[in-house]
C-alpha cells in the first residue's frame, strides 16, 4: 500500500514515535524512512512517499534530503526554503524585519577586527551566535572587550561559517523564553522555557511550563511562520522589557515533547491532520 505520509528521520526520538502512534490511531498509512539509509536517484521519478514530514535532526541531512525530494516533485513539510531561511539566524532576522515581526537588534561582522570595532561602538553585553546552529551551542555572551577578543579569536580558526560573527543585543527579560508550536496558521500550544541560565534551551536543562496564547502572540507567530514560508514550525519568543514580545528564532523541525507533556495537546495528530489537508 502506498504511504499517505512518510516520516523522514535520522534518529527516532519521542517526537517521531509519537507521529507513528498518532498515525496508527487515525488509520493513516505511515512510512518510516531512515534518511541514513536513503540514496535518492536524482535522475529518476521518485518512489511514492505520499507527503513527507521532514524530521531529520542533522541540519545538513535535513536540508539536502528536502532539496532532493522537493526537486523531484515530492511535497515536503517543511519546504526547502523554510529549511534554508529558518536554519540561518541572519536570514531569519532579515525576513522577520521584512515581515514586520519585532526581533532583537543585531549586527553581522565579517572579521574579528570588524566585530570588535562594532562592539566597541555599540556597547556590551552582546550575544554572539553562529548563524547556523542549535541547542545553544557556541552561543556566548560577550560582556567586555577582553571576553569578545578571546571568543571571536577562537572562531577565526573554525569552519568559515563560524567566522560570520552574528552579534545580537542581550535582551533584558524574565528568566524564560517562549516556544510556540505553529501548525498552519494556529499556535496549537506554547510553553515557557524557564531557566536560571540566560540560555533557556530545553537541551541545556531548562524546565517547561504552559504559556497562555495571546492574540498578539499568535499574530506575531503567523507572520514569523510566513516569513520563512513554514507550515509546521516552533517559534521562539522573548519578553523584552523594552520592546515587549520579540521573535528570535523559528525552528523548522521543531521538538515538541515537553510541549505535549505540559499542555496535553496532541500535537502529532494535529501535524498529521495538517499534512493530509495540504496534500489534497
Amino acid at each position: 500500500m502506498n504511504p499517505d505520509v512518510t516520516i523522514l528521520y535520522d534518529s527516532i526520538r519521542w517526537e517521531e514515535k509519537a507521529l507513528l502512534e498518532a498515525g496508527k490511531k487515525k488509520n493513516i498509512n505511515i512510512q518510516m524512512v531512515d534518511c541514513k539509509k536513503l540514496a535518492i536517484d536524482l535522475e529518476k521519478k521518485p518512489e511514492d512517499y505520499g507527503i513527507v514530514i521532514q524530521r531529520c535532526v542533522s541540519y545538513y541531512r535535513n536540508l539536502h534530503s528536502t532539496a532532493a525530494l522537493e526537486g523531484l516533485g515530492v511535497k515536503v513539510i517543511n519546504c526547502l526554503n523554510t529549511g534554508v531561511f529558518a536554519g540561518n539566524k541572519l536570514f531569519t532576522h532579515m525576513l522577520l524585519k521584512k515581515f514586520g515581526v519585532p526581533t532583537p537588534d543585531a549586527t553581522v561582522a565579517f572579521s574579528k577586527d570588524a566585530a570588535i570595532e562594532s562592539l566597541e561602538t555599540n556597547g556590551y553585553p552582546k550575544v554572539i551566535k553562529p548563524t547556523i546552529g542549535s541547542w545553544g551551542r557556541l552561543i556566548s555572551k560577550l560582556n567586555d572587550k577582553e571576553s569578545a577578543e578571546g571568543i571571536i579569536e577562537s572562531r577565526e580558526t573554525m569552519y568559515p561559517i563560524y567566522q560570520v560573527h552574528y552579534l545580537e543585543e542581550f535582551v533584558k527579560r524574565p528568566p524564560r523564553d517562549i516556544r510556540a508550536i505553529m501548525v498552519g496558521d494556529k499556535i496549537v500550544a506554547a510553553i515557557y522555557r524557564n531557566s536560571e541560565h540566560w540560555k533557556t534551551n530545553m537541551a541545556l536543562g531548562g524546565t517547561a511550563e504552559q504559556c497562555k496564547v495571546t492574540q498578539e502572540m499568535e499574530e506575531m507567530c503567523i507572520k514569523a511562520k510566513n516569513a520563512v514560508q513554514g507550515d509546521i514550525v516552533g517559534v521562539d519568543l522573548m519578553e523584552s522589557e523594552e520592546k515587549g514580545l520579540v521573535v528570535h528564532e523559528v525552528n523548522n523541525t521543531t521538538e515538541y515533547k515537553n510541549t505535549v507533556r505540559v499542555c496535553d495537546v496532541d500535537i502529532p495528530s494535529l501535524m498529521l491532520d495538517y499534512a493530509l489537508k495540504v496534500d489534497t
Partner: protein, 55 residues
C-alpha cells in the same frame, strides 16, 4: 531486557520498539540506538549530539 554497556544496568526495550529508536539507560543516562540483531534488538551507542544537530 538488555544490559547497559556503560553501567551494566538492565534496559527494558519497549514491545513496540523500532529499529533506530533511541533508548536511555535508567541508571546512568547513556543513550543507545536500537539495531536489529539476530534475536530481537541490539544496543549500539547512540550519536547524541552531532555538530549540526538540533532545533
Amino acid at each position: 531486557m538488555s544490559k547497559c554497556e556503560e553501567c551494566d544496568a538492565e534496559i527494558s526495550i519497549p514491545s513496540d520498539a523500532l529499529e533506530g529508536e533511541i533508548v536511555t539507560c535508567p541508571e546512568c543516562g547513556a543513550s543507545f540506538e536500537l539495531a536489529k540483531g539476530s534475536d530481537g534488538f541490539d544496543l549500539k551507542p547512540a550519536q547524541t549530539v552531532g555538530e549540526d544537530w538540533g532545533q
